[in-house]
């Protein structure tokens, strides 16, 4: 017998000798000594005050108030975002499209050929201006508020509240943290799934992260809600109505996450939810200025930059599609014609589907693509939120169309960056395909159902 085997054997014998509850005795000694050391070196100098942390925790995680507070928080954040973004968005539109007209006039005066002006100004610049005007204001408001909630320490409370639902769904409670990351960026959300130890639960979290609206899709949903839902209310209530619609779409995504997890837990990914510990950290007063600065620099500008990198070539591509003619119609028209029947069944149209296809690299540009698709070849250049609505109405949009676009945007498939990240994290082509085809299937079924029921009832 080797020396090391002998040591292990002796350890086994001694374990028998020292008696039961060894593990507890070891940790007990640690806790006792911790208490003694702490007692010797820490003094409470003030009088025992009201423990606000405890009171706040009792409220935020209470059985009856926990959920209402979460929903109310979501409503408040989105309402501030929507109401606050409207005005600066308008300014940006006015400014950027004023520049657009000046540039166009300048190009014409300089004698540039029509296709150069068209490609650069009506294509690339218009696409960029759109993305900046639509995305910058809501992101500049949403990200800092969300980061503040993170820093204060609210997210672990949300995880605590939702734990029971995750158990029902057969998923890991820490998934709520990865979902919160997904609200910012699905690719980030997918990477955050590393905090989940069980491979089965981790896969569930990865596959469903797509149902969290990412910053590429918030502006789409917010804009459509503003035009189509808020439009039917008096100005006083309009931003609240728009908020309600956005919250509704968000909650559909959350509920669907649970349902899909539960279905998968009983079929393809069988298993029970595992236990875990989560400390409710003390509330911290966040460093507001730093949070605002950091979320503006690190997130807003970065995300906007990414959107612009995609929007510029996409704008050019759309202009080309709209202006290269094959036979008697543009490429765009051919493509839209081919997709029209499928689109109609789902309550959409051909151009909308073209928009979703072109926007695979970045969801940010879905709406700009659709608008430019409608405008291709036409003379209308000036746009703000109100005549965007007119443009949509002129192309046959109804409230149903808007609802179907919002649902399709929520559900469809992750952007190419997220898809790549899923492949990297799972290392599996099969699950990467799943992560794309499963949401696409759900999106098609849901949109067809909504459109058909709507048409039957209406």
């Amino acid at each position: 017998m080797s020396r090391s085997d002998e040591i292990l054997r002796r350890a086994g014998e001694l374990r028998e000798q020292v008696g039961p509850g060894l593990h507890e005795r070891i940790s007990g000694a640690l806790y006792q000594q911790s208490a003694a050391v702490s007692h010797a070196s820490v003094r409470i100098t003030g009088k025992a005050r009201v423990d606000w942390d405890l009171i706040a925790d009792k409220l935020l995680t209470s059985r009856w108030l926990g959920y209402p507070i979460m929903v109310f928080g979501l409503v408040a954040v989105l309402w501030v975002t929507i109401a606050g973004a409207n005005v600066p968005s308008g300014w940006l539109f006015d400014g950027l499209f004023w520049v657009h007209d000046k540039l166009e006039a300048g190009f014409k005066a300089a004698g540039a050929p029509w296709w150069l002006t068209g490609f650069l100004i009506n294509g690339v610049y218009r696409g960029l201006a759109w993305v900046v005007a639509v995305m910058l204001p809501p992101m500049a408001i949403f990200f800092p508020i969300f980061t503040l909630l993170e820093d204060v320490g609210y997210l672990p409370r949300v995880a605590f509240n939702l734990d029971r639902v995750f158990r029902w769904a057969g998923a890991h409670g820490k998934q709520s943290l990865t979902m919160a990351m997904g609200f910012g960026c699905n690719a980030a959300g997918v990477i955050a799934c590393r905090i989940i130890e069980s491979p089965r639960e981790r896969l569930l979290a990865i596959l469903t992260n797509n149902f969290m609206l990412c910053n590429g899709r918030w502006p789409t949903i917010i804009m459509l809600a503003t035009i189509f839902v808020a439009g039917s209310f008096s100005p006083v209530w309009s931003s609240l109505a728009a908020t309600g619609a956005v919250v509704g779409v968000t909650l559909i995504g959350v509920v669907l996450t649970f349902v899909v997890c539960r279905v998968l837990s009983r079929t393809a990914l069988k298993g029970e939810a595992s236990h875990f510990y989560l400390e409710l950290p003390p509330f911290r007063r966040p460093d507001v200025l730093r949070v605002v600065y950091r979320s503006l620099i690190d997130r807003t500008i970065f995300v906007l930059g990414r959107a612009c990198v995609v929007a510029a070539p996409a704008g050019g591509l759309i202009w080309l599609l709209g202006n290269i003619h094959v036979g008697d119609a543009s490429l765009m028209a051919h493509l839209a014609d081919a997709l029209r029947p499928v689109g109609w069944m789902m309550g959409l149209d051909g151009i909308i589907l073209v928009g979703f296809l072109i926007a695979i690299p970045a969801n940010e540009i879905v709406v700009p693509t659709i608008i430019m698709g409608y405008l291709a070849g036409s003379q209308m250049t000036e746009l703000d939120v109100s005549n965007t609505g007119e443009l949509f109405h002129a192309h046959g949009w109804t409230l149903m169309t808007a609802v179907c676009v919002m649902l399709f945007s929520l559900l469809h498939y992750p952007c190419s960056t997220t898809t790549w990240t899923i492949y990297r994290e799972t290392g599996s082509v099969k699950w990467t395909l799943w992560a794309n085809l499963m949401p696409l299937g759900i999106a098609i079924v849901v949109c067809i159902a909504v459109a058909n029921i709507w048409r039957m009832v209406g």
Binding site: A11, Y31, P281
Partner: protein
């Protein structure tokens, strides 16, 4: 990949893979390795960012540091590699996070380990401190969030705490950068051997103590100069599979004081195993 390379989360992930591959130049071209341990929510990442100048995203929840981040800082013309370990409550290796943190402190043999504590709830944090002290004596305790503790009228007597633990204690408010110069100075002194802490051992009941010392003596006879025989004995008694494996494979020989510290092969394997 392209577009999202700048993304904060991806940046962390890339750093991790680089840590595993780039064993030669760059990060490893340093004089000392310093591990940063601590409970979640103690401001560990803030300390890390402040010392290294990196901007790792900080957050107030466990699991924020998914990847092991590494950075470099310089003090008194020496280059220190700082390794930010996952935030854990204990080192009993019950989860993947704890396993990573413990294996690094044990087998990665950092020249100094900084345990970041939340001064507002010190007692809860001392559990981890005591566990680290059983593995290595080269420890600095960083009592962070001292500003918040003061606001809550909790007074920490750092000198008393030092005496009770047997290792240096530095109160800090990392968010404001307070106390960090003292921290780096203590790290430096421990790394160069100017300061040799004598941690106070954890005391167990008499029966347990007898078993521990017998087993520890056996371990020391097999591996003369073993750094943390007492702790290993406790782990063996507790039936810790990872430590049993290390005994069987002879890996424990690595822990003998005086064996080449530059053998960082284990570190590379650790990172690969994790990713």
């Amino acid at each position: 990949m392209g577009a999202c390379d700048k993304c904060i989360v991806n940046r962390g992930a890339r750093d991790q893979s680089a840590g595993g591959v780039e064993i030669g130049p760059g990060l490893t071209n340093t004089d000392f390795t310093v591990a940063l341990a601590g409970n979640p929510n103690t401001g560990k990442s803030t300390v890390f960012n402040n010392l290294t100048g990196l901007r790792q995203h900080t957050g107030n929840w466990p699991g924020k540091t998914v990847a092991r981040a590494e950075g470099v800082f310089t003090h008194r013309d020496r280059r220190f590699k700082l390794v930010d370990l996952p935030g854990t409550y204990s080192l009993l290796a019950e989860s993947a996070d704890e396993q990573v943190a413990r294996d690094f402190i044990l087998f990665g043999r950092p020249d100094c380990t900084v345990v970041v504590c939340d001064a507002t709830v010190l007692e809860r944090n001392l559990n981890l401190v005591l566990q680290v002290l059983q593995i290595t004596s080269r420890v600095v305790v960083c009592a962070n969030l001292i500003d918040e503790a003061n606001r809550k009228r909790i007074a920490l007597e750092a000198r008393v705490l030092e005496h009770e633990l047997g290792v240096p204690v530095v109160p800090t408010a990392a968010r404001r950068g307070q106390g960090l110069d003292h921290l780096t100075e203590h790290i430096y002194e421990i790394c160069v051997g100017k300061l040799v802490p004598q941690p106070v051992p954890v005391e167990f009941d008499a029966e347990l103590e007898r078993a521990i010392s017998e087993l520890a003596t056996e371990l020391e006879r097999e591996y003369p100069g073993l750094a943390c025989a007492r702790w290993l004995a406790i782990r063996l008694l507790d039936g810790d599979e990872r430590v049993e494996e290390a005994v069987r494979s002879g890996e424990l020989a690595q822990l003998v004081i005086g064996q080449g510290r530059e053998d960082r092969g284990y570190e590379a394997r650790l990172t690969e195993g994790k990713s």
